[in-house]
């Protein structure tokens, strides 16, 4: 089964934006399948950049990035985009939702972009049913929220909808880029616990980045980007 492949294997990675100084230089960085990892880093240290590389939106100048057993660096851009649609879930810091789609449609969006996600959701009882289940699990009553305008939600609610969208169709790896930095302490902890549980339930690995080291305790493992990254970035 593909789930048994490591979630991430990075080797000898080097990356810079438009031939500037290296932002990232990582000799080795592995994440096991299903592992929930906390990656700490100061602002500007390259956390988002690293996630962009793992998502295949950026491509490195050197090195190898294997995600869920597949080598991104040998794929073309089109294949990487398709791979991302099929196997990854992404949660941003804020503004995760398309404002012109209601909550339900936002969650099922990945199933419309990727046949594989649609298939996985269908196996779990259909995209809509799966989306409602996730919404419910994340503490939002589907009956109330399904048709709500995304822009009418509080930030915390938006983040939970974003988590549901990232999780639908059983992606192998969830990338969360400071998804709690706009939340207060209570809803932050609740959000992280829900996210962790759902990742565990669907067997997805989680890479959660933040500059807030107090969150580290929630996770299987915590790393500091500056320990991995040997590039001299102004952090």
């Amino acid at each position: 089964m593909i789930e048994s492949a490591p979630a991430l294997q990075i080797a000898d990675l080097r990356f810079n934006y438009r031939h500037g100084d290296d932002v990232l230089a990582i000799a080795r960085f592995d994440v096991r399948a299903g592992e929930r990892l906390f990656l700490r880093g100061a602002s500007g240290s390259g956390k988002s950049t690293l996630l962009g590389l793992i998502a295949g939106i950026l491509s490195p100048q050197a090195g190898r990035i294997e995600v869920l057993g597949e080598d991104l660096t040998t794929m073309g851009a089109a294949k990487r985009d398709a791979f991302r649609a099929a196997r990854l879930g992404v949660i941003f810091q804020m503004f995760n939702l398309l404002p012109y789609l209601p909550v339900g449609r936002n969650i099922t969006l990945p199933c419309r972009f990727s046949p594989e996600r649609a298939r996985n959701a269908a196996d779990a009882g259909g995209a809509d049913a799966e989306a409602r289940r996730l919404l419910d699990r994340l503490g939002l009553d589907p009956a109330e929220f399904w048709l709500k305008r995304s822009s009418a939600l509080s930030v915390g609610q938006q983040q939970r909808v974003a988590a549901a969208r990232a999780l639908i169709g059983r992606p192998g790896l969830i990338l969360a880029d400071e998804p709690t930095s706009a939340l207060d302490a209570d809803s932050r902890d609740a959000f992280i616990d829900l996210l962790k549980e759902e990742c565990a339930a669907s067997g997805a690995a989680l890479i959660f980045v933040s500059h807030d080291s107090s969150l580290a305790d929630h996770f299987d493992r915590a790393l500091d980007l500056s320990d991995l990254n040997t590039a001299s970035v102004t952090a």
Partner: protein, 421 residues
């Protein structure tokens, strides 16, 4: 791969609907500009078609030799004067030629309060046709019954408030303040013609014999003192007429007869085929109409630029939307297509609505256009031309939309995973 399934169009549509207010205004701008353009086009073509059918059913117009356009101008439009008259003998020679079904002589030179007086025969009202074979009809009364009877066109009746039974006096020459009035011989209006949108509306028709009678004692006199009874008994066949219209048994005879007339040995005559001369004339005066079309086209461009404005203003706000789509697996070119599609959809909606408005308006106003201006709109349902305009406007919007779309495309490449706020 996911590319084929990427639901670009439905997203573009949703995104437009989300900004329904702005979108509606943009669509309205395009719709109005397209309505204006198509309306101008329709009326332009209608005006041209109506103009080229100012006189139909007449196969040849014969007059003194000058230029075809000149002959047309004075004989049909009553603009300017004939260089020469033609003799009654020549008229009868042509009238007797083989294949000639009918002839209608016209004698010009007098006027009534600024309107041309046309001396002619009752045949004029039978044979004159305009538009696609429409005959003159009487709104009131009938054709001449007596020597000093007159028939007035629709505009003359409307402007001067004439009805049948009223008496009018004709004057020598043109101009509303005439030099000499033939006031010894007043005319009685026996008929008012229905509107045609042709120069007929601005004409006063009297009998050819009456023209002869009022000029018996010199062309610039006040008329003749002879009593009407005596005049009726006289042979008032004119010596000269200004021009005449010829109808043929078969239109194919027109060219041969035209050649014969043009080479008539007794007198320098000229015959023109009305349709040909009208088209020639239109090519001269059509310049204004083309300018109008150009202006209308620029209005459409304004409409398209409003789409561009709407998209550009929303672009920054939508930069994060693009980052979300990228994270979901959208290809960079999907971002490009999304914005181009949006621009094209706005234009398409505007153009379709504009076309609908145009035809609704034409359907509503065509009776008025026809009655008041004699402009017949030939086609009251959208056709290929309108389809082409809709397509063109949509394509132009797509091309214009490519500008902001390219910017969004560059952003989505440069932004990577970061959402710029």
């Amino acid at each position: 791969m996911s590319g084929a399934r990427f639901p670009i169009l439905s997203l573009a549509l949703r995104s437009i609907l989300n900004r329904a207010g702005t979108a509606l205004l943009t669509i309205l701008t395009v719709a109005i500009s397209v309505t204006l353009f198509l309306g101008v086009e329709k009326i332009r073509h209608g005006a041209r078609a109506s103009f080229e059918n100012t006189i139909s059913g007449v196969d040849l117009i014969v007059g003194a030799r000058s230029s075809p356009v000149n002959l047309l101008l004075y004989s049909v439009f009553h603009i300017g004067d004939a260089t020469n008259n033609i003799t009654w003998e020549s008229y009868q020679a042509v009238a007797g030629a083989p294949n000639v079904a009918w002839t209608v002589p016209v004698s010009l030179g007098d006027s009534h309060r600024g309107y041309r007086v046309v001396g002619t025969t009752p045949g004029y009202f039978e044979h004159y046709e305009y538009g696609s074979g429409r005959s003159l009809t009487f709104a009131e009364g009938a054709s001449f019954a007596d020597l000093f009877d007159a028939v007035v066109g629709a505009e003359v009746a409307r402007e001067l408030g004439y009805e049948t039974g009223q008496e009018i006096v004709v004057a020598h020459g043109m101009g509303s303040v005439s030099f000499v009035e033939h006031d010894a011989n007043p005319f009685t209006i026996t008929g008012v013609l229905a509107p045609t949108g042709t120069p007929v509306d601005r004409s006063v028709f009297v009998t050819l014999e009456a023209i002869e009678a009022i000029h018996l004692e010199g062309s610039t006199g006040r008329g003749t003192a002879l009593p009407a009874d005596q005049l009726r008994a006289m042979d008032l066949a004119p010596e000269q007429i200004t021009a005449f219209f010829v109808g043929l048994d078969t239109p194919v005879a027109a060219l041969r007869l035209q050649r014969q007339v043009n080479t008539y040995p007794e007198e320098p005559l000229q015959a023109v085929i009305p349709g040909v001369a009208l088209a020639q004339l239109w090519s001269v005066i059509g310049a204004a109409e083309r300018t109008l079309a150009a202006v209308a086209a620029f209005v459409v461009l304004t409409g398209l630029v409003s789409i561009l404005t709407a998209i550009l203003t929303s672009l920054n706000e939508r930069r994060r939307e693009m980052a979300i789509l990228r994270a979901l697996g959208a290809r960079p070119h999907h971002v490009f297509i999304l914005l181009v599609a949006e621009s094209a959809l706005l234009a398409l909606a505007g153009a379709v609505i504009g076309t609908g408005l145009t035809y609704a308006g034409l359907a509503g106003f065509s009776p008025l256009l026809e009655a008041r201006f004699g402009i017949l709109i030939p086609q009251l349902l959208p056709g290929l031309y309108d389809l082409a305009i809709v397509g063109l406007v949509t394509a132009a919007a797509a091309v214009l939309g490519a500008g902001p779309a390219w910017r969004a495309y560059r952003h989505s490449l440069a932004d990577g995973m970061t959402i710029r706020v």
